[in-house]
Assembly symmetry: C3
Homo-oligomer: 464 residues x 3
């Protein structure tokens, strides 16, 4: 018995499945290229063992605890928000006895992969197997083979990008480089904390940015110089990209004097909501301008309503599984930036969405025209088999494959990375197999495309 079937996620129709198997065989062993995610450089800098099963699989994973919470299990029971888990085995048993809730979700696929491939489990997680799982995981985590660097190598990773604040010293990245270890862990410049006036501590953050760079960030020009300096610093440690998580995709292209004035408003906390939005909008265009200068690839992740649950936010803070997508427009929102830089072939902007209606209506037509635009893979709730299928079905006919950029695992759950890439490779193989089975492309083309979707496009798009 096994948790994973070797044909999982392939189309059921035999002819198509046979093609999918062949395509997958050609890519299954390729190295993992991870250009965007939320793992911690410190793990690889310090190379300490991961803690117990709950701290690894339950506490940090929104996907897991949001589902449990939705079914009436409290954060108290799960010890969410506790610095130290008092009764990890008890929490683990709660999780295990509710494992059926994850049927049909990608979380189930990712977890089963880790359970089998890393911990050798063969029976499904349940109340009955909870303790057996707990002990097996706990004991393996204590071994040398489960240290972060060993796992990175075992996962056959070629590169792993983290996501970092401009205020981060990147000391962990530097320590990795200085350690002589060959793993390639690169930072990504994510300036939300210093460009979004709504971000907690924005004013202090801008001030700290000044201190860090020796620029006068109380002035618009000094502020821009400080950002440019930090971007440069990220590059010295291997960074190739920036990332921007705004509520909308709105951009602006204001005259300099107006931008300067607006900066004064947000800095003095006199800006209203519309001005704050306009400032974020302007900053996307400023970031695009800097990208043209320094070559960093730009990612935009818009459309999440953060911290929708007021009570949970008040008590537990950010990132508690209560971020909800909202309708997101791109056609008018991106126009100011595109009017300025849309035709630059030296610029790469990778667009993501949480609003699937934009795939065929807006994103594919935009990326199928503007040289600077590429489409990121299905994100967050849509990083899933059906989500990936919809993305390819709705995007490919207008944007083709070559205006997309391969897969992002985009996770803070390091142990789920191989599982996530495996799902993407299988779904791509299955999608391509259908095109071959329906005689829309030939199999030799599908072989080439499978390779492109797995490593080629991602390395070229992210300059890795």
């Amino acid at each position: 018995m096994a948790l994973l079937h070797e044909d999982r996620l392939f189309p059921a129709e035999e002819g198509t499945r046979a093609i999918a198997r062949r395509l997958y065989e050609g890519i299954r062993a390729l190295p993992l290229v991870s250009p965007h995610g939320h793992t911690q450089a410190g793990w690889f800098a310090r190379n300490q063992p991961f803690p117990d099963p709950v701290a690894l699989f339950v506490q940090p994973d929104h996907y897991v605890f949001r589902m449990l919470y939705s079914q009436g299990i409290s954060f108290e029971e799960l010890e969410i928000g506790s610095a130290q888990i008092a009764e990890p085995r008890k929490v683990w048993r709660i999780f295990a006895s509710h494992y059926h809730l994850f049927r049909g979700t990608p979380t189930r696929l990712w977890l089963d992969f880790a359970f089998q491939e890393l911990f050798g489990m063969t029976e499904r997680l349940s109340a009955a197997t909870a303790d057996m799982y707990y002990e097996a995981i706990e004991s393996k985590l204590a071994t040398r083979e489960f240290l972060p660097r060993a796992l990175y190598e075992r996962f056959n990773m070629e590169v792993l990008a983290t996501t970092d604040s401009p205020l981060d010293s990147l000391a962990d990245h530097a320590a990795i480089r200085d350690s002589g270890w060959k793993g390639r862990i690169v930072p990504t410049f994510r300036p939300d904390s210093v460009v979004d006036p709504d971000f907690w501590g924005f004013r202090m953050n801008v001030k700290a940015l000044g201190t860090m760079t020796g620029e006068d960030t109380a002035t618009w020009r000094g502020y821009l110089r400080a950002l440019a300096a930090r971007r440069q610093f990220f590059k010295t440690l291997g960074g190739t990209a920036t990332d921007h998580g705004h509520p909308t995709a709105q951009t602006a292209d204001l005259p300099e004097a107006e931008a300067e004035w607006l900066f004064g408003q947000v800095l003095s906390e006199e800006a209203d909501a519309a001005q704050q939005e306009q400032f974020r909008a302007q900053m996307l265009t400023e970031m695009a301008r800097m990208s043209l200068e320094d070559g960093l690839v730009m990612q935009i992740h818009p459309g999440s309503v953060r911290n929708h649950n007021a009570q949970i936010f008040a008590r537990y803070g950010r990132d508690m599984g209560a971020d909800i997508p909202q309708p997101t427009g791109y056609v008018e929102a991106l126009r100011p930036l595109l009017n300025r830089f849309g035709n630059e072939t030296a610029l790469t902007i990778i667009l993501f969405t949480l609003d699937e209606t934009s795939y065929s209506r807006e994103l594919a037509p935009l990326a199928g025209h503007y040289p600077c635009l590429k489409l990121g893979p299905p994100w967050w709730f849509f990083d899933s088999p059906e989500g990936m299928r919809r993305f390819r079905e709705q995007v490919t006919e207008t944007a083709g494959f070559y205006n997309t950029v391969g897969f992002n695992d985009d996770t803070r759950a390091f142990l789920s990375i191989p599982a996530r890439h495996d799902v993407a490779r299988r779904m791509d193989a299955g999608f391509l197999a259908r095109l071959v089975a329906e005689h829309r492309i030939d199999e030799d083309e599908a072989v080439e495309l499978a390779h492109e979707l797995t490593v080629g496009l991602v390395k070229r798009a992210y300059k890795l």
Copy 2:
């Protein structure tokens, strides 16, 4: 020859179909649980024969006459709106000779099921078979086996919920209870007529509510007490749920004084459209508060533009097949209610939509987080094979199966109930079979899920 094939609606691929057949076998004979619909308690109270085929299949069924109307057949020809049908056989022939219009629609599936399973038809309805059908149906309707209570038993129904105004005396429900008949027909509290200022006769209705309960419904507090009293009364006759059909999903949570003032405005007909909307919004939150107190499950059916066809409305009134969906947002609309009650595990709010774009973008993420939220099945135009497939494909990966509530037949066409449940069971079996065939869940899990989707989840969610 037969109208129905035993493999209908199952996926064509043989391996998947074999799994679907097995899953369906496990649930096909389970009792029908109908927690939401629009049948009439009076049928079961009086237990009189249903009238002729036209009064049964054509006149009351929007799905039927809207399609005929869209193809140029007038309401006059169909005798829609006539209290007494003058030439039922002529109307039936019109319907029969246009039966091809329903190809590819769920109406066709429901009708064929009733024609074959209840009336023994084996040839397709057409101009040629119109009279044969008419006579066969007419003669069977006159028999004891076709009385409402006999059909309820023959359908193997466990419970059937009606939808009722707070102003309804529920005399029919009481009569059923007092009759000693074992059928379980329960009312549902649908207060649109007394909480929606746009509802025809709103002011009079609120007054009647006062008379009925002995409360002074000219005051905010009296009005709320009256509503609470009627809810209690519905509970005494077996009611477990409320239902709310608003143009949008907007909620509000006003300070009491403001709510009181707003009530004064709407009652004195001085409220503008925005205030009327705000009143409906406030009432959803009031209803949620009462649900926490009395335990009634809350259903919200938003997003229909009622009576879009002005000429038809002027001449024939409401419910003439001219209600059209509109874009419906949930993320901001539900926020006031969720801020107040979203984390209550004792509260159940079942959300429906006519805007399929909300499935993956808003509804699944909300229901996959908030303990009080569950997702109702695909509604109205989407109560169909493709509609059900899209619902499962777009909802399951984020919300799982356990934040959904099984099937609603939601019909006023009593004879279509077994057909509708059969379609749902077949589509669920087919969807689960695909997950099994693609090795995303195991078959023993699918067996359990099929049972949950058919009876388990619905009985727990609706407290039946």
Copy 3:
């Protein structure tokens, strides 16, 4: 070896594919009915050879050059915008060496069809085969068999509609009629240039309309009479339809005095954007009124943001592949027109969309009720295998097949017409085959429907 497989686009599952093959066999050789498109009557009036491969396949085809442009190939390299192509063979090589970009797009399907069926190619286009292709195409284009009229006959066309300005003299159409050639090339009345105040040269156009008709188009009544006169003239040359390409689907039904005043505003260029929009809205209702009088079928193509790329527009003008869809509402937008004419059975309005979210939420419910409304086939970016599949899956259950109007090739690429019809026939055969395989309709019904979708519905809807 061949570019095209005889089973292309059919579902992979063997049983379903066998049904699809049978259905397709019944329709593959039916004549092509092309009720809407953008070919030029002049080709058939003059019957001159088509120029070189680049002028035929690259320069005029947005689908082709937008994809190349999105991947960093400049318009200069492609000689887009040049009156005379200086180095056609060099441009062809660029195109050929990037042919892989079209994998998974409909363009690839259309081109391969033309390459094989018209030019006898059997090897895929690539850098290696570029010259061989160029020479083969060039030499064939010089032959008598490739003259426009010969191709029309070879394509087995029954009728081909062009799209024409009211200011067009239709001299080419008249010349064709007078030539004695039997081909049926009919004009379509597309008045955007004289009803859309945003259209380049609007005022001059309205004046020219007056000159052309002898009406005083400086007055509202004269303007309307002039439009009616041109409609009549189009009818005399075989026209059966009008077409309207507006940014939105907004309609209006103003009192005459208000409409008259508004006309004065737009004519004097004093109208603001909202008034311009209202004028377009009013004109849709005026056109519907005229259609009731003269019997012309009305097509509405809303929702495209034209010329999104400001730099490209400034340098190259309109129609350069930079038109992007936007969200498009129909329920409120069409209400004024429908309130006035929605119940007229003698009126036909064919609705198109670039916003697929409207299929199931708005368009199918509207067309499934109003007698005057029909749904046009998937348009532009959605004239593709997946686009067609989504259209049928999302529309059929509510609107049925009979509220749709068959296929439009809607192309300016004359040589792609047979390929486009072939894709549509195959996709319809495949969709119907699935319904048969899932026992939702019987095969004899599918045979009838396949014929209707191919020729019956289109000829009846467009009165051809």
